[in-house]
Symmetry: C2
Subunit: 260 residues, 2 copies
């Protein structure tokens, strides 16, 4: 961003899965220029070291516990930008996948606040990288579906239709209902379908499990894997099995050797 703004603006910035080296160069430049940083709970807090000029405001909310209401975050963005400041709203993963960006963008459009968006690495991609696999190995599938198990109306996705697509499923926010969603998927998919959980994908404290759909819920619970995590289901995940057999299972990412 080399453009100079005489009025304020908001940058919706994707912080990626945690490792600061997974930020884009564009994100680093936006942070360096930020006057105000609104920081999400799911972003690595060390990211503020890249925004030395900025006032940092933590606006996290986790699961049901809404410590910062969404409307208040939107008011903060609008208020600071209206004062002529460059506000950087930092979100974990890619800002455009889940995470209420739709509502924040709508609020900015309503308030006539200029904005830009900086993409980032969503945790489903980081999880596949850690497992050493493609999300869409063409011998197994023709696509991948990113889905949240946590719906606005507290209902649940149509697991049967999702399974019937034959795409790899990358399920976000599913750990609290993993037993239920695996059971629903098994109405369509065989219990032997390859499946995995990657917690804190791409971070130093990453943990992962590669198994089958039929064993996923019990093994994830036994290993005490929790949120934030991505659940991956589909034949393409089977490519991780041989790799996983020779890599330590519940160890940190740094100790993994991506070689046989």
């Amino acid at each position: 961003m080399t453009t100079t703004f005489t009025t304020g603006k908001v940058t919706l910035l994707s912080a990626g899965p945690g490792d600061l080296d997974l930020l884009t160069i564009k994100a680093a430049k936006a942070l360096a220029a930020a006057d105000v940083v609104l920081l999400d709970d799911l972003a690595n807090p060390e990211i503020v070291s890249l925004a030395p000029r900025a006032r940092v405001i933590r606006v996290g909310k986790r699961g049901g516990c809404r410590s910062t209401p969404q409307a208040f975050i939107q008011r903060l963005m609008t208020r600071y930008a209206s004062k002529g400041l460059h506000v950087v709203r930092v979100k974990g993963g890619d800002a455009l996948l889940f995470g209420r960006a739709g509502e924040e963008l709508a609020a900015l459009k309503r308030a006539d606040i200029p904005f830009d968006i900086v993409n980032g690495i969503s945790s489903g991609f980081a999880a596949a990288a850690s497992l050493g696999i493609s999300l869409t190995h063409r011998e197994h599938c023709q696509g991948v579906t990113f889905i949240t198990a946590h719906m606005q109306d507290h209902g649940e996705p149509d697991w049967a239709t999702l399974a019937a697509t034959g795409t790899t499923l990358a399920i976000y926010m599913g750990m609290s209902r993993i037993e239920n969603l695996c059971a629903k998927l098994m109405a369509t998919l065989p219990a032997g379908t390859p499946a995995a959980v990657v917690q804190w994908a791409g971070g130093a404290n990453e943990r992962r499990l590669v198994t089958t759909l039929g064993r996923l819920a019990a093994e994830a619970q036994a290993a005490q894997l929790g949120s934030p995590a991505v659940i991956l289901v589909g034949d393409a995940i089977g490519e991780a099995e041989a790799f996983d057999a020779i890599a330590p299972r519940y160890d940190s990412r740094d100790s993994l050797a991506h070689a046989a």
Copy 2:
């Protein structure tokens, strides 16, 4: 990557949608350390300026015209890494979404070549950023499906099932059959479903179209939009309409003001 390798290795590197500022910091570091760069056609060729030490080999293949056979690319990676060199295999977008990464990783595993993977921004995310929308606005959908229209067996995806998921569809490699796939989707989705095409998403020469599913094929052809492009279909895309109405339609990304 600070690890020193006494043997060679391969880094599967995601070059993102084109803009070099959308590379991750990790990607820039890997390129700086590269001995050999194997460069895909879909990656921005200026990326080689970040790999000053490297011998650059172009291994592109476009559509049906296979100028470099896949098996030959895999032999090159293995050969150079076996000589102790750091080979960086550059792929457009995110390497783990389409693009034959599955086969390249399998070849590396078979040959016992150490590897790592650096994620990047896939063009579907860059397209959403340019349109100023979330891929998964929670008032409209609970997920997004990335699908290729170009299948290994020359068949086609099950468009009816994909449409029935209610997820946003991000269709890659679909421009040569846009009329057919729109017709198939309209068996399930209303003709008024919001839809868009973004060609060269995130690049300086980006072009985009926001319309409805029923008008998409004819308008894309009239505007001479071609590959590489992402087709986006779903109610979440409707959030782009108001924005698009005030932004120039087939202009470069640089001239767009993300503000009302």
